[in-house]
């Protein structure tokens, strides 16, 4: 039996190295002294030169700060809207217009970014003509655009988390006379906290990463970090981008590993508690 899987096992490892090869090379060359990025300047490397340069680059630092603020606002907004949408789709049963809501929360997942960007910009322009708002396109319009496409991901995560639990606890609480709002905050919300957290991080990452939609809806004064990087790398490779990438990969890797460990611990604790509850009921 074991011998039969050598093919897929090899495929898995080859695929994983394909996924990690560019990331590793980017990290390695961020310590390279040469401006030519991929030509290893052995006598003077490794060096932290590009990291120093990065932290002196006002444009990148400013753009990064703007991106962080936008991503945090996006993630928070997307979590609120996405949780509501996920709750409605998973727990509210049939109502008029449910199919449309379901369609509108799933379509953004596959919608090409250029279409989303163009349509949102045209909406903002039309709104400005009609109502005078938004006067200028800035961080606010970028945030609205980002919330719109990232809430779909939060919805999916929350919805599938809710589908993993049956609703007997909620039913019981409702039967005992708790009001729906109380049921939500005391029972449903604690159950979906992990989903909400990964949804928040997902929305944060999507917003932090987005270049196409931002390019459409950003005004002249609001340049996000991906927009700066995009215009920089269009002109060719630049070593300080490698340094930036390395820092970002390190932060993300730490975050993902920590949260995975934390979640598994939570999951185990929950399973244990469930088992104990089951044993106590016998």
């Amino acid at each position: 039996m074991k011998r039969r899987h050598w093919f897929s096992k090899t495929g898995l490892w080859l695929g994983l190295s394909f996924l990690y090869l560019p990331i590793v090379s980017m990290i390695v060359f961020s310590f390279n002294n040469s401006r030519l990025v991929t030509v290893w300047d052995a006598p003077n490397s490794p060096t932290l030169k590009w990291y120093g340069e990065l932290f002196r680059n006002e444009q990148i630092l400013g753009a990064a700060w703007l991106s962080i603020r936008i991503a945090a606002m996006t993630a928070t907004g997307a979590v609120v809207l996405g949780t509501l949408a996920g709750l409605v789709l998973a727990r509210f049963g049939p109502f008029r217009g449910r199919a449309l809501l379901s369609g509108m929360t799933t379509a953004p997942l596959v919608m090409p970014e250029v279409i989303t960007g163009l349509s949102l910009l045209l909406l903002f322009v039309a709104l400005e003509q009609l109502t005078g708002w938004p006067e200028a396109r800035d961080a606010a319009t970028i945030t609205i655009a980002h919330i719109t496409f990232s809430m779909a991901y939060v919805t999916i995560v929350v919805q599938s988390r809710l589908a993993g639990f049956d609703n007997s606890l909620e039913e019981a609480a409702l039967d005992l006379g708790a009001r729906p709002a109380k049921v939500f905050f005391r029972i449903t919300l604690p159950l979906i906290v992990p989903a909400i957290m990964s949804g928040w991080l997902l929305a944060f990452t999507l917003s932090w990463d987005d270049v196409v939609v931002s390019q459409f809806v950003a005004g002249p004064g609001s340049t996000t970090l991906p927009m700066v990087i995009f215009s920089k790398v269009r002109l060719g490779v630049s070593p300080d981008v490698n340094a930036l990438a390395t820092i970002m990969v390190l932060i993300v890797a730490t975050g993902v590993v920590t949260s995975a460990i934390w979640m598994r611990r939570q999951e185990r604790r929950r399973d244990r508690e469930m088992q104990m509850a089951a044993a106590a009921n016998k």
Binding site: R4, L16, L122, S160, P180, F184
Partner: protein, 333 residues
């Protein structure tokens, strides 16, 4: 023959088991949960209305505006398009419905060839994604639960890091004086660098690389639910590994293949960043054409018509998928 029962999907995105990705497109059966609806409470409508109105205003609404502008004429003003209708007198309305933008798309070679090229690139990339992802997902599904989680984390980790930077990293690898060429030159495999940047090859690499997790995850969540004793039964009945794969595993994994392929194909058609960074400027993909039309030529009506045409093109795969999926589930019940 009775189909093997597929256990109810319990979905946890980060904790090992994945949710059913096809649920992104399709909600099955009569709704089972009516917990909150059972009670007639004041906040009910509000809870539904908030996300609903947001999506109507910022997701569906914009498409209507794009559709409207695609019928108007370009003009030198801000905004650079003519209104579709004007009140001539108080009672007469003057409507200008201009189909010229769509005719222009059909008659100008640039657009037709860009659409075809985008479809070709997306289709080829999807096939390569599938060929790479299938063995990976299969190996993951057949490994022990503890290692599965590690593999899953390894697959998802690049997905959390910046997409833009990961595409950028390929420039460093594929350039004429990049890592791949340097290594091959040093090994003596080639005498002069191979040109890989600004070719179709680079675009394929970029798309396959960026979208690979979207193919692996639905495939994995399908394969993970397979009953592998079926393969043993097939082996007992004398089927070789190839036959049992083709006759058992492959047909059962069709929903995963379709979900993954659509998750790759649809966004890849409109891809903008990857061809801009890695592709050539001789043959443009349609996403690039749209943004050039919009930013460089400032022709908003034509850009809108390009977007609507792309949307129509992509509606077909989504509809096909939904149709297939509903039939599949009706048959499985």
């Amino acid at each position: 023959m009775a189909r093997p029962s597929i256990p109810k999907p319990t979905a946890r995105l980060l904790s090992g088991r994945l949710g059913p990705w096809w649920e992104l497109f399709y909600r099955f059966g009569p709704p089972r949960w009516t917990t909150y609806m059972r009670h007639n409470w004041a906040g009910k409508r509000l809870v539904i209305a908030v996300p609903y109105l947001w999506l109507l205003l910022f997701f569906l609404g914009p498409f209507i505006i794009v559709f409207k502008i695609s019928f108007s004429e370009v003009r030198l003003a801000m905004p650079p398009y003519a209104p579709l209708w004007q009140w001539v007198t108080e009672k007469a309305i003057d409507v200008h419905l201009n189909l010229g933008n769509y005719l222009f798309l059909l008659t100008d070679d640039l657009y037709v060839s860009s659409y075809l090229y985008s479809l070709k690139v997306a289709a080829i990339s999807t096939v390569f994604c599938l060929l790479i992802a299938y063995p990976m997902a299969y190996a993951m599904a057949r490994s022990s639960p503890a290692t599965r989680n590690i593999y899953l984390m390894l697959i998802i980790l690049p997905f959390w890091t910046s997409f833009l930077l990961r595409v950028y990293a390929w420039i460093g690898l594929l350039k004429n004086n990049g890592v791949i060429n340097n290594v091959l030159l040093a090994l003596g495999v080639i005498d002069e660098p191979i040109t890989m940047m600004q070719t179709d090859f680079a675009v394929f690499i970029g798309i396959v690389y960026s979208y690979l997790p979207f193919m692996i995850l639905p495939l994995y969540s399908n394969l993970e639910k397979h009953d592998f004793t079926l393969l043993e039964a097939a082996a007992d009945l004398g089927a070789g590994p190839v036959t049992s794969f083709l006759r058992v595993t492959l047909p059962l994994s069709v929903p995963g293949i379709i979900a993954g392929s659509l998750l790759v194909f649809i966004p890849a058609v409109g891809e903008y960043v990857i061809p801009s960074l890695l592709g050539s400027s001789d043959q443009l993909m349609i996403g690039r054409v749209l943004s050039d039309e919009f930013f460089a030529n400032r022709d908003w009506p034509v850009a809108s018509a390009v977007a609507i045409a792309m949307l129509l093109l992509l509606m077909v795969p989504i509809m096909l998928f939904q149709h297939f999926q509903s039939r599949e589930l009706a048959g499985a019940k």
